[in-house]
Structure formats: structure tokens, C-alpha cells
Point group: C2
Chain length 183, copies 2
DNA sequence: TGTAGCATGTAAATTGTTACATGATTGC
DNA sequence: GCAATCATGTAACAATTTACATGCTACA
């Protein structure tokens, strides 16, 4: 139930067309809630139907023609309500942790290389986040919105830091001799 | 594409019926790949059809009757292949980070309480993991399987630690005055 | 017998993924 | 004109979630 709220948030930050939203979901908001353009178009249709957003009158309703949306008061109200709604954290579902566990049963052949590959991907992602932090939040942010956006970015940075640490540990363990003794 | 492999792993660790698997997916393996009993029964059917697992002959094929499954060689082979297959990490999709971002736009009313609730949930989960670590991995594990299982558990512990740290930070920020100056 | 709990399943709705189709605009 | 790109969509499928249905077993 988060995609509609992700879209409402993005549209409140800046009214956009479907494709512009898709691009923004490839970065920025998309770092924390990814979505494809098909999901976005379908959801824009539903939100419009429910009266939470509307197409800006300027845009003609023709195929292939740009169509910009903005949030209506009902949409803002729905988002406001959602922000503080109790919703439990989802149970972890991570294929990589699962694979390490499976490796315990059928052997870890080839897994170390895959872990190293992931390690490098997470290092890139961390570098990207840190560049954004340096660019967008050089000093103590002045507005509440900036403070919260920075907080979310810190979440991303710390998550990547976790993965880098754990993957380093894991790669080390997988390379260890089966039963080491002498140095 | 991970659920069938999670089930194969669980069945290799110990042949089980659908309901036993469901219980094991509420802990142990389920800490890293959750699944409901409906998903499990459907997937057991598919895996049997594909010849990767089979029902133990002892079990009668009657409704309401317990039916135990074990992994066939083809199933083990499929799992072995999957372990080292390249598969990119999924983009992060976290409703809570999203909600903090939305709070930047529509206001954070009520969010602090929800964050505190999550903080407490993550603290419980961490305590549970640490109890398991103490119980199952008191000394340096002897077998490769134990080492890998411990590694996965460490992943869970470090993830919970990340959340506890970040949520602490977030709750602090949300309670700060808008523009503090004097103590 | 009847009821509580165990065990396996079906059905429907929602969400997410992959592949493809179509119209508009721009530059050559 | 036409190729490339922007922009919006459709269709089909797979995975996940939620709710419900059915049969067996034990035991009061």
C-alpha cells in the first residue's frame, strides 16, 4: 500500500507527468521506493479516479501528449493520514542472506565471487549517496523538510554501510581455510 | 524467484510437511525469507510436479492427512546452481523511510510515536537474535554449515542494530525544537 | 456428538514484472 | 519523408496477500 503514497509525495514535491515521475523514481524518492513506469501509469489512473489527484487542465488528453498531474486536497489529506498510521515493519526478505544459508547445505562453490560483486555494487551506491549528501546537505539544514530528507538519506547511507561491513566479513569467512591452525 | 529455493533449503535441512514448513518459516529460515502457508503449499505442489521434491511414500495422499516431503537429486542440483547465480541486490523498498520523506511534505504529526513503536519492535527482534546466537553459537563453530548459519544470523543482528541506531537518531530529530538556540 | 485444533487446500484481489504497441516531436 | 526519442499506454503473467473451505484426530 505504499506506491500511491510514494506518488502523492513525489507530486507534492513537484507536479509531474508520468514519465517525469518514472525518472524521479530512478533516483531521489526511488532510492527508497522503486517503481516501473507501468506501475506508475496504472496508479496515476487509480488516484485520478479516486479524486486524489487531477491532470492539469493545460494538458490535452491525447495519447503521446504530455499529461501533468497535481495533488488535490483529498490527496494531501490521505497522505497526511498515512504518515502516522501504525504499520509494522515488514519481515526481512533478502535473497542474499538466503543464499548464504543455502550454501551451508549444498556448498558455497562460486558464492564468494557473487558476494564480492555485491560488495562492489554497494560501495558504488554508498559513494552516490555520499555525493548527494555533500551536494544537498553541506551545512545543518534550515527547514524541517530538509532535515527529514537528510534523515532519510542517512538511512540509505547507513544501510549501505551495513551491507559493506557484512559482505566484507562474509567474503573473509568464505576464504578462510576449513580448519585453520598454524599462521 | 527465491521462495522455491528457500523451501528446498529448509527441506534439505529436514524433510517436513507443509505445516511444519510453515512453522519453520515463522522462525529460523523465515527470519530472512518469510512466507505464508498458502505460498508454501502452492510451491510444494509446483516443486513436486517439476520433480525436484517428492512426498515420502509413508504419507497417504488424503486431505487433512500429514504429507512429508523430501528433496530429490534434481532439487539439490537446482539449489546448488542458484547459490552462485548472479542476481543483483534489489533496490531498497522501505515504507518507513518513505513515510519520513512524506512527513517532510505534509508534516510529521504523529510520526514520532510510530517511530518509537518501531524502535521497540526492532529492540525485541535484536534480543531474540542475540538469544539464538548465545544458544546456538557459543564458541567458534566447527562445521562450515554452522559458520555460514552464524554469518546469516550476524547479518540479522547487524540489520537490527542499524535500525535501532537510525530510529534513535530519527526520534531525536523529530523531538528537536524547530530552531533551537539556548539550552 | 460436538468442538477444538491440526492439516491441507481453493479463490479472489492486489501488486509487481516483462514484453509489446502506439502516438507525438524533433532533427536531419 | 524518416529515424530517433519522448511519452503514454495495453496485455499477459507471476508473486503476494487475505479470506475462506474442507477433512481428519483427539478428547471431553
Amino acid at each position: 500500500m505504499s506506491l500511491p503514497h510514494a506518488i502523492l509525495t513525489a507530486l507534492l514535491e513537484k507536479p509531474s507527468s508520468g514519465l517525469e515521475l518514472t525518472r524521479r523514481f530512478d533516483k531521489s524518492i526511488g532510492y527508497f521506493w522503486s517503481a516501473t513506469h507501468q506501475q506508475i501509469y496504472r496508479e496515476l489512473g487509480r488516484l485520478e479516479e479516486k479524486g486524489l489527484i487531477r491532470a492539469l487542465p493545460a494538458a490535452q488528453p491525447a495519447r503521446g501528449q504530455k499529461k501533468e498531474y497535481e495533488v488535490l486536497p483529498a490527496g494531501r489529506a490521505a497522505l497526511t493520514e498515512w504518515v502516522s498510521l501504525p504499520e509494522d515493519p515488514r519481515p526481512v526478505r533478502d535473497p542474499l542472506l538466503l543464499r548464504v544459508r543455502a550454501a551451508g547445505v549444498v556448498g558455497a562453490s562460486g558464492l564468494a565471487a557473487e558476494l564480492r560483486r555485491h560488495l562492489s555494487l554497494h560501495r558504488s551506491q554508498l559513494a552516490e549517496y555520499e555525493a548527494i549528501e555533500k551536494r544537498d546537505f553541506p551545512a545543518t539544514p534550515a527547514t524541517e523538510e530538509d532535515r527529514l530528507r537528510h534523515l532519510v538519506l542517512r538511512g540509505g547511507i547507513e544501510l549501505e554501510t551495513f551491507w559493506i561491513g557484512w559482505l566484507g566479513e562474509a567474503v573473509g569467512r568464505l576464504s578462510e581455510p576449513e580448519r585453520g591452525s598454524a599462521p
